[in-house]
């Protein structure tokens, strides 16, 4: 029994690390522009699919070159999204921006469908497929890559926002755009950087996890929703809350799948999310919101 639980925990943390990265991307964009970006999952898909495409065939690039190129491609997509879809609709209501980003996600998925078709593609593992024994549980080397990569990226993001000028400038924009503008920060460039950063996080999550889960043009849908759940669970606008929310969601789902039923695992995740919202309407780590009257 204990071994089983350990196995579920390991799986949960692996899945949760992906959710955490997508949730973190959600939080960064939400903080910078007050937009709930429903195309966040598409960044994950584009990252993974581009990496697959670039490594494929006889003329394929080495994995690490392909990975870097895929991240750069996704960053461009993220910045284009900001520049051509979000920026022109400045001042639109919450619902309108939600539908714009949903439209963007359908659009990106449509392009992926056109370019890559409906097939499921694998990405080669970074360092072999020999399972590692931990007690009586096993773990794939790729899972370690996912966990380690996610941890590195989360701490990297933390450092970026707290200790670099660029990161602080983005934070300043999310606090008060006018004030940031007045102290000489170019707000529209900061918004572009925030979207690019968020897209890069999504792409890296996609590349890290693609060797385990494989990837296809529609893998972004559920991942995007999970990332949104993670961000809400942690309290919208709290990046580290989103990371914690993602890990928690991954663990809940993995335990629910193992101990209750794998068919209902997503439902159980959402039920727990609803219960959290009913009792703590601003998420686990969110500050209670105060309405301006």
């Amino acid at each position: 029994m204990f071994d089983q639980i350990l196995q579920f925990l390991l799986t949960g943390i692996t899945v949760g690390s992906t959710y955490a990265l997508v949730g973190l991307g959600f939080a960064i964009i939400y903080n910078a522009s007050d937009v709930v970006n429903f195309s966040q999952g598409e960044f994950v898909m584009i990252g993974a699919m581009s990496a697959v495409a670039l490594t494929a065939g006889d003329t394929g690039l080495p994995l690490w070159v392909a990975a870097i190129a895929a991240v750069l491609i996704t960053m461009l997509v993220g910045m284009a999204l900001q520049r051509f879809a979000i920026a022109p609709a400045r001042g639109a209501s919450v619902v309108t921006t939600i539908i714009i980003t949903i439209g963007a996600s359908i659009f990106l998925r449509g392009i992926a469908l056109l370019v890559w078709g409906k097939d499921l593609f694998p990405l080669p593992s970074f360092s072999g497929d020999e399972p590692i024994q931990i007690g009586n549980a096993t773990i794939l080397p790729q899972s370690l890559w996912v966990m380690g990569g996610a941890a590195l990226l989360v701490f990297g993001a933390q450092y970026f926002f707290n200790h670099t000028t660029l990161g602080k400038a983005i934070l300043a924009c999310s606090c008060n755009k006018t004030a940031a503008h007045l102290v000489g920060i170019n707000v529209s460039i900061m918004l572009l950087v925030a979207y690019g950063l968020s897209a890069a996080l999504g792409a890296m999550a996609g590349i890290l996890v693609a060797p385990i889960t494989f990837t296809s043009y529609d893998t972004g849908v559920m991942l995007g929703l999970k990332g949104f759940s993670a961000a809400i669970l942690g309290g919208m606008g709290n990046p580290m809350g989103a990371v914690a929310g993602g890990l928690l969601l991954g663990l809940i789902e993995s335990l629910a799948a193992g101990l209750i039923s794998s068919g209902y695992k997503d439902a159980i995740g959402f039920i727990i999310l609803l219960l959290v919202l009913f009792f703590r309407p601003s998420g686990l780590f969110g500050k209670a919101s105060v309405d301006r009257v």
Binding site: V36, A85, P88, A89, A92, S93, V94, V95, T96, I98, I99, I100, I102, G103, A104, S105, I106, F107, L108, R109, G110, I111, L113, L114, L225, F228, S229, I232, M236, S261, G263, Y264, D266, A267, F270, I271, L273, L274, L277, F278, P281, S282, G283, S289, D291, V293
Partner: protein
């Protein structure tokens, strides 16, 4: 009389269409699903457009009605009519139970909670295969019949759903201009202000949530009998999103706008079929473009354009006349 002018116009148009285009696929087949979508959009608009409560899970209530009718008629041999009532009762109770805790939430949290609700219902439908047929769905659902008049042709379904749509629109128009409708619009503006005026905002929100769910359930039951087949795909997250898009596309807080949005979004995929592989991409691009350039919706956007146009004409006329005096 003047208030319902648009209503009579629409009723005449709905009634006249099958006479102008008899046996037209776009009228009797696509038109029927446009009608069902319009009923759903009008109900969601009560909640979203007027009360200002976003819901990304409206398809769940549509599915509850459809599956109640489908299960009771095919598995237990019920007559279709009482199954519609059971569906209404079931959906109403569920909606009433979840309404209060869900509607306490605001903004993105409300969006997430309704989205979660929709996904949970969808998963339950897929997983409870012994009852719902799982991913394969349920087939051979009997059609409706009344006093020997069986609804068995596309044209008859057009008549039934057209009538139902006009009833729902009439209900929505009257509700909005009633005391409760004004309370709804007040809490959309500011919940605190509405409460100061003595409006029980929690009860009002619950009421409109349950009403919207009931209309969706009714549409679901009718859908099940009309299609004779239901499967989980018709009630998933994407359909909820489509419904929200219909409301926003037509123009929030406008019943006719919701109808217009439903008609456009039903016909769009039919027209995009010629583009085959590009269909998904074009659909996404249109959705994005419309929301970027016409965020207040088509119906209101047109009205504004029209007003600007007539206003400009009035202004130039005035200028001309003042020039005349000088």
């Amino acid at each position: 009389m003047r208030r319902l002018g648009g209503f009579y116009l629409l009723a005449v148009a709905v009634a006249a269409l099958p006479f102008i285009f008899p046996d037209n696929y776009f009228v009797t087949v696509v038109g029927v699903s446009a009608g069902l979508h319009a009923i759903l959009a009008v109900s969601l608009n009560l909640l979203m457009g007027y009360a200002g409560q976003i819901s990304l899970g409206h398809a769940a209530f549509f599915g509850m009605g459809a599956y109640t009718s489908a299960i009771l008629t095919t598995r237990y041999g019920w007559n279709p009519w009482p199954t519609i009532l059971v569906g209404l009762a079931f959906t109403g109770v569920i909606a009433y139970i979840v309404a209060r805790p869900i509607l306490k939430l605001k903004g993105h949290y409300l969006a997430m909670a309704t989205l979660g609700l929709g996904i949970i219902v969808h998963i339950v439908i897929v997983q409870m295969g012994w009852l719902t047929g799982g991913p394969d769905g349920l087939g051979s659902i009997p059609t409706l019949s009344l006093f020997g008049w069986t609804v068995d042709t596309d044209l008859r379904w057009y008549a039934v759903i057209g009538t139902l749509l006009m009833l729902v629109i009439w209900l929505a128009l009257n509700l909005i201009d009633s005391r409760s409708g004004r309370a709804l619009r007040a809490l959309h503006g500011s919940e605190v202000a509405a409460e100061m005026m003595g409006i029980d905002t929690a009860a009002t929100k619950t009421g409109v949530f349950v009403l919207a769910a009931l209309i969706a359930s009714l549409a679901g039951s009718v859908f099940a009998h009309q299609q004779a087949f239901v499967s989980p795909g018709s009630f998933d997250f994407f359909f909820s999103i489509e419904l929200v898009t219909m409301v926003v596309l037509g123009g929030m807080a406008s019943t006719y706008g919701a109808v217009l949005g439903a008609i456009i979004l039903t016909f769009l995929p039919e027209l995009l079929v010629v583009f085959e592989d590009y269909e998904v991409m074009i659909f996404g691009a249109i959705l994005m473009g419309m929301m970027i350039f016409l965020p207040q919706g088509l119906f209101i956007g047109f009205q504004d354009l029209l007003r600007k146009f007539t206003h400009r004409r009035a202004v130039t006329k005035k200028e001309e006349s003042s020039h005349g005096v000088a």
